[in-house]
């Protein structure tokens, strides 16, 4: 069907994103020659944030395969485009792979030699196994996003609807199982192991929910930006915007629930191997970020998202979504940066954001957005093979 390509306004976005990406990469190159260690750490931060959105897109796509609903059909192509950036993110993972000793204490021979506890964990935390696992995660994500896109394409072309949609449902079920495992293990590998002493069993779920929230907020911003233009405007109704808003509210609440659960359990246990995580994050300036998270990652979005009228208006909803995206960056920073900054025995480091943190966020973000738009433009913006979408398009045409 013609005329269902992504709107021309995406040209400008892609150019802007490419420019930002190139500028960020240049800054990172400069950072590499001045302070390579800091660059590796900042890069991990930027990488985790944007990869999180891509993973969240894939997870929501798979969830929608199981639940159905018009809200997910309207945004399916956005989600799939986000998920298809994941193989490229494997390339952006390379700096992390090369910088292992600069990021992770367990990858440094001197730390391992001096620390009996870390030595006990080297059977799992060692460079070859770490990299093999990363290859496995990216392999699973590539496979899932590839199969999703392929079968979704087949639906567009009208090849055997019943069989293909049943396949997509199966992919949703099996895929979510794999996502649960890969997200949990990748969160433990890439983020939790920055401090190899500390552990929390709810950490993986915290990442799952955070990634889904980031993805949902990103998609809402996209919908507000392009929802008024052809072809999205042909099928997008207030009801779908309302549904997206409800889902974002649910993810905000779930994030608060999981985060608080981790805090309450560790606070109540007050054990020496667990509690330093929060002691470190509630002093030296980090406590202001913590307070900011309580207010702007939960209280404010929760309170305003209760309003039905706000959720049904794409513009106001997108303002909340933009705030959520921004505070997601802060949450990730608060979660990993205190450990990134201080594993050399210097005691608890204060909050000293480095300019390279922003540069890496800009570089990875620019590249990611460029890839996202590229994937988005490759295919029709609406899954025209789905009966519900077909019906809406025909009702509109007649």
């Amino acid at each position: 069907m013609k005329g269902l390509q992504a709107p021309a306004a995406l040209d400008g976005l892609q150019k802007g994103a490419l420019g930002a990406g190139v500028a960020g990469l240049l800054l990172c190159a400069l950072g590499f020659f001045t302070n390579a260690e800091q660059l590796y750490r900042s890069w991990l931060f930027g990488f985790l944030f944007w990869t999180g959105i891509a993973i969240g897109c894939l997870s929501i796509t798979l969830i929608h395969n199981l639940t159905g609903g018009l809200w997910g059909l309207v945004i399916r192509r956005l989600l799939e485009a986000g998920a298809r950036t994941l193989p490229w993110m494997a390339v952006l993972f390379l700096p992390v792979a090369f910088g292992l000793p600069h990021i992770y204490p367990w990858a440094r021979a001197d730390v391992v030699a001096a620390d009996a506890l870390v030595r006990m964990k080297t059977a799992y935390l060692n460079a070859p196994f770490f990299l093999a696992r990363a290859v496995f995660y990216f392999g699973v994500w590539f496979l899932l996003s590839h199969m999703q896109s392929r079968w979704s394409d087949e639906l567009d072309r009208g090849v055997n609807y019943l069989k293909t949609s049943r396949r997509l449902r199966g992919l949703g079920g099996a895929g979510l199982l794999l996502m649960g495992l890969t997200i949990t293990f990748s969160a433990v590998d890439w983020a939790m192991s920055i401090n190899p002493h500390w552990f929390s069993t709810v950490y993986g779920v915290l990442f799952m929910v955070g990634q889904a929230l980031s993805a949902m907020a990103f998609i809402i911003v996209c919908v507000a930006r392009f929802g008024g233009e052809d072809p999205l405007s042909r099928v997008l109704r207030k009801e779908q915007v309302h549904d997206l808003g409800k889902l974002m509210l649910a993810f905000v609440m779930l994030w608060a629930y999981i985060s608080f659960t981790q805090f309450l359990i560790i606070w109540a246990g007050n054990l020496p191997e667990e509690i330093p995580f929060y002691i470190q994050r509630l002093q030296g300036g980090w406590q202001y970020l913590a307070l900011g998270l309580v207010l702007f990652h939960f209280a404010l979005p929760f309170a305003v998202l209760l309003s039905r009228d706000l959720k049904r208006n794409a513009r106001t909803l997108a303002m909340v979504a933009a705030l959520v995206l921004a505070i997601r960056v802060v949450d990730l920073y608060w979660l990993i940066a205190p450990d990134l900054a201080g594993h050399h025995g210097a005691g608890a480091p204060g909050l000293h954001p480095h300019w390279m943190d922003l540069a890496a966020l800009l570089a990875v973000g620019g590249v990611w957005l460029t890839l996202f738009v590229r994937e988005l433009r490759g295919r029709p913006l609406l899954p025209v093979g789905e009966p519900e979408i077909k019906e809406l398009l025909e009702a509109r045409a007649s």
Binding site: L264, W267, A268, L306
Partner: protein, 184 residues
């Protein structure tokens, strides 16, 4: 027929019967556009557009639920504060008496409890339930409202209500199957 006063039959309203949800929504739109406000519709299952068409935009229930939730929040947090800090100050694990993280979960539960109780009781109260008698059940076919028919009733207490004009209006609606008067 029970009559009251000087020959004007005292009726509850006039009711139209429809076969499809589309027709009843369209009817509700038209009746609302004509200025009728004391209108109710009956359907075997919820139709989202219908309450919009009838002009039920803002019910006070969400606000009541919010107030109920806030009451639960304050009450349960207050109860914990009072018992742990004022009435029974005990040293537990060396923690401060006012250890707020421990209070959060019961406070959350209390908020949910009072909000949902307000929702349930509020729905009943605002709808005037339980209501052992309602005139619409005097219409013989009304039992089908819980099966496969859709009804729209303009009540006599509506200021615009006029027995003949309102009935003619309903009769002229598209898709109408039958129009009957609803007796008290």
């Amino acid at each position: 027929m029970r009559r009251r006063g000087t020959g004007t039959p005292d009726i509850h309203g006039v009711m139209a019967e429809f076969n499809t949800p589309h027709d009843v929504v369209e009817a509700a739109h038209r009746v609302h556009a004509q200025g009728y406000r004391k209108v109710d519709a009956y359907s075997p299952y919820p139709i989202e557009e219908l309450s919009h068409a009838l002009g039920f935009h803002h019910s006070p229930l969400p606000l009541l639920v919010l107030l109920g939730g806030i009451f639960g929040l304050v009450a349960v947090y207050g109860l914990q504060y009072w018992s742990a800090v004022i009435e029974y100050p005990m040293n537990i694990g060396g923690r401060p008496l006012h250890s707020w993280p421990a209070f959060v979960v019961p406070t959350f539960d209390g908020t949910i409890l009072f909000a949902s109780l307000t929702a349930v009781l509020g729905v009943l109260a605002l709808n005037g339930l339980p209501e052992p008698y309602h005139p619409v059940f005097n219409v013989p076919t009304f039992a089908l409202a819980s099966r496969d028919k859709f009804f729209l009733c303009i009540e006599a207490r509506d200021p615009k209500f006029d027995r003949d004009k309102t009935r003619d209006l309903l009769r002229a609606l598209p898709g109408v199957v039958d129009v009957v008067e609803v007796e008290h």
